[in-house]
């Protein structure tokens, strides 16, 4: 039943919290700010091999743990929530939610490429990046600026011949974890329509240029392909677009769940400060100006959690709602709530909350950065409006 966690799910949550708290205290999180890729490969491997939680939503057929009766999105959301609480430096979003989901939807996998890649993801050994933004960083699978050689003048070998090497040329910007990735999964235009391609790090003609991000805990890069060798995977056309859209949905769930965890942590920090900070001889939380702000934060956290869990349960097929609508609702709510929670946390803390030394700015930047990913809140609002307002009913 929706919202009714099983004992196994509770255990998973406890495990994830314990891991995140232990592995990503503030010092560890800050240490990642100055590293090349912004996350911790050892922790990633531990999540895969020690905890075994990276295949939750990846199909069993490819080596993951997801089965039709237990799709795993609720579990993924719980994991993402706990990792979000601490701003844990791991590439869950890019590798599992985006690239992993896209690989899960490629369909026919005659060369076993998808299974090979998913296998690497599941044991935490591999970092993937899904390239589905255009040259200006817009999430726009329909208008990617990367093309296969031959461009639009048409090949004759059809669109399903996995394994035949092609060459990619073009640019994609704002690609999550592109600089760190061992393998890129690239949506490129082909004569048969958009298609996913596998490109190995270090491939000829591949250049990734890190971009300076507002949120230092998630790294983006500009990716340029210049006749870069690539292996097509899955079918071209609508199927590829659908795979990327599915990836976006799961990515949005992970963002929303991360926002729930981070938002809950911000609320805790704020309440703690409001209880302990004395001004005018009394805790500032005894002033309604502060108390009511905290109350609104509580509402924001609880509503964020509700819509996020609902999206997870719906992706798992456990509600009557439309999965994409449920995910968009989660994005619309959390992408407003998370920045508001972070702003309110700064305000409750006063000047100290504005300093580099205080952790709040890390959360604030995560909130702002996340809201700019995957098409942003505006695109989710637009899809939600089309779904619930424009549809006949």
């Amino acid at each position: 039943m929706e919202f009714d966690l099983t004992d196994e799910q509770r255990s998973l949550r406890d495990l994830a919290r314990s891991f995140a708290t232990r592995t990503f205290d503030e010092t560890a999180v800050r240490a990642q700010l100055d590293t090349e890729h912004g996350f911790d490969r050892d922790a990633w491997r531990a999540l895969g091999t020690d905890l075994g939680v990276l295949g939750l939503t990846l199909p069993a057929a490819l080596g993951g743990d997801s089965e039709p009766g237990a799709p795993g999105h609720v579990e993924l959301a719980l994991l993402a929530e706990e990792l979000g609480r601490t701003l844990a430096g791991v590439p869950l979003l890019g590798t599992v939610a985006l690239a992993g989901t896209a690989l899960s939807h490629v369909g026919d996998d005659p060369g076993g490429l998808a299974a090979e890649l998913v296998g690497g993801v599941v044991d935490g050994g591999t970092v993937l990046a899904l390239v589905a933004t255009d040259a200006r960083g817009r999430w726009s699978p329909d208008t990617t600026d990367v093309t296969t050689d031959g461009g639009t003048d048409g090949g004759t070998d059809g669109g399903t011949d996995g394994g035949t090497e092609v060459r990619l040329t073009g640019t994609a910007s704002h690609v999550l974890d592109a600089a760190a990735a061992d393998t890129l999964l690239v949506l490129a235009r082909t004569p048969d329509g958009p298609r996913l391609h596998v490109v190995r790090a270090g491939a000829e003609g591949l250049r990734t240029t890190p971009q300076t991000t507002l949120d230092q805990t998630r790294r983006l890069a500009l990716v340029r392909f210049d006749a870069t060798p690539a292996t097509p995977i899955g079918t071209a056309g609508a199927a590829a677009v659908a795979a990327v859209a599915a990836a976006r949905d799961v990515g949005a769930l992970v963002l929303a769940a991360g926002a729930v965890g981070a938002g809950a942590r911000l609320l805790e920090t704020s309440v703690e400060h409001a209880k302990g900070r004395l001004q005018f001889g009394r805790p500032i939380g005894s002033f309604q100006g502060v108390k009511h702000r905290c109350a609104d934060m509580l509402v924001a956290v609880e509503q964020s959690r509700s819509v996020t869990y609902h999206a997870a349960w719906t992706l798992d097929g456990a509600t009557d709602d439309d999965p994409r609508t449920a995910v968009d609702l989660a994005t619309v709510v959390t992408a407003a709530a998370f920045p508001a929670l972070a702003k309110n946390t700064v305000q409750v803390h006063g000047g100290i909350g504005f300093t580099w030394e205080h952790p709040t700015h890390l959360y604030y930047k995560r909130a702002v950065g996340d809201a700019a990913l995957l098409g942003g809140r505006a695109a989710a609002v637009e899809r939600l409006a089309a779904s619930v307002l424009d549809a006949a009913s």
């Binding site: 919202f3 108390k291 509580l298 509503q303 959690r305 509700s306 709510v333 939600l384 619930v388 307002l389």
Partner: protein
């Protein structure tokens, strides 16, 4: 917790296990629906059958409308009864069903329960609540209505306000001050008042919509037998808190049907008037929809996470967000209507018999749409005041759920009569 003569309301009735009690309740519901098909049985007869079968409140004791089952079983029973076309008892007698019944059971004598519960459930006797006063709104515990013991009776004088259905009610839940020398919370006692007795005067209170949905009740030496006291003398506040928590939870619980309530009203307007669509209005509506759905799902989640545990302060989240959302939704509706927002369906003379949904949302007792947007708009203005102002609710969230310190109090420990009022 309860007076000596009270039967506990928790379900431990028959000694059987919970599963058996549940099965028995569901069987009883099916039997009632079979023997008294609600669509062809007079309402009163149907309700009598339900009460006598223990389906009124399944967790109540047998003979008093219950079967001693777990409270959670009620939902499944209601699904059977209402699924077959039975009425929603809460809406027929809201103060009676949701608030009076559990309070009388838990805090009154067995005789009192015997006397009051059946007429309450079958709607022979409606109930109202006499809590708020002109001088005691947010500070309910500061109320001034005085009850003095004279022999075996209490003599009550004072003024109550914001009473729904007072003109229709036979009984009232009354909170009165029995000891003004105690600090305010400790000098209150809870009673059942006969609204048909002498010294009880009900006056309609006209509101900005033009209607008189509420009343003032003036009490002038009204008399209450001591046997109609609920709980101990001086324990009225504690008893009332249970009652209020149930009320807020009922108001704030919201609906689990997407697009019901005020947002449903807005969606119907939107769909029926494509000529009025603009991109700005569309953007506003989808944001309101998202907030409404977030509130709805939060209500669902709390209900499920709460299970059989008693309602807590979480209910205040639904009440707070629902009230503010209602207001914004109806503001949106008026903006959609453009020039027609200047029109109104009529203030008319005060109509004492008018009854509307407590929440100000559309939908009468049967849930039928009432799309009088101007009236709904004006009515929604009270949503952030009635049943706890938004300011009080934010304090509750901050203090009870987050553990923040209370406002600095100037009246703590002071005898009530020494605290400034006005």
């Amino acid at each position: 917790m309860s007076t000596a003569t009270t039967t506990s309301s928790t379900g431990t009735g028959t000694g059987s296990d919970p599963g058996a009690r549940r099965a028995r309740a569901l069987d009883a519901a099916r039997a009632v629906v079979a023997s008294h098909p609600p669509t062809s049985t007079p309402r009163r007869a149907f309700l009598e059958a339900c009460f006598d079968a223990g389906l009124a409140w399944v967790h109540f004791p047998e003979g008093l409308g219950g079967l001693g089952a777990e409270p959670g079983v009620q939902a499944a029973v209601d699904e059977i009864l209402q699924g077959a076309g039975g009425p929603i008892p809460f809406w027929l007698n809201p103060m009676g069903y949701g608030m009076a019944a559990p309070t009388v059971l838990d805090h009154g004598s067995a005789e009192l329960s015997e006397r009051l519960l059946r007429p309450l459930y079958v709607c022979d006797e409606l109930w109202c609540q006499l809590f708020s006063e002109p001088g005691a709104g947010s500070d309910l515990a500061g109320l001034a209505t005085r009850a003095e013991k004279v022999g075996d009776e209490w003599v009550v004088s004072g003024q109550k306000v914001w009473t729904s259905s007072a003109h229709l009610a036979r009984w009232a839940l009354l909170l009165a001050r029995t000891d003004p020398d105690q600090p305010k919370h400790r000098g209150l006692t809870y009673f059942v008042l006969d609204m048909h007795g002498p010294g009880v005067e009900v006056r309609p209170l006209r509101q900005m919509t033009g209607e008189a949905e509420f009343n003032e009740v003036h009490l002038t030496e009204a008399r209450i037998p001591d046997s109609h006291r609920l709980g101990e003398v001086g324990e009225g506040w504690r008893v009332a808190m249970t009652t209020l928590m149930n009320e807020r939870s009922a108001i704030g619980g919201g609906s689990s049907v997407r697009g019901s309530g005020s947002i449903g009203s807005a969606l119907r307007l939107w769909r029926s008037r494509p000529d009025l669509h603009t991109p700005e209005l569309r953007a506003r509506l989808v944001e309101l929809f998202a907030r409404a759905d977030a509130a709805r799902l939060t209500g669902d989640r709390f209900r499920i996470e709460q299970g059989d545990r008693p309602a807590g302060a979480e209910g205040s989240i639904g009440k707070l967000t629902g009230a503010e959302l209602n207001q914004e939704v109806y503001e949106f509706c008026l903006d959609v209507l453009g020039p027609d927002a200047a029109l109104y369906s009529g203030y008319g003379p005060p109509d004492e018999t008018d009854e509307t949904d407590e929440t100000g949302g559309p939908g009468g007792p049967g849930g039928e749409p009432v799309e009088d947007y101007g009236r709904l708009f004006l009515r929604s203005r009270a949503n952030t005041i009635e049943g706890g102002t938004s300011e009080v609710l934010r304090n509750i969230l901050g203090e009870r759920l987050l553990g923040l310190p209370g406002d600095v109090r100037v009246d703590t420990g002071k005898p009530w009569r020494e605290v400034p009022r006005g």
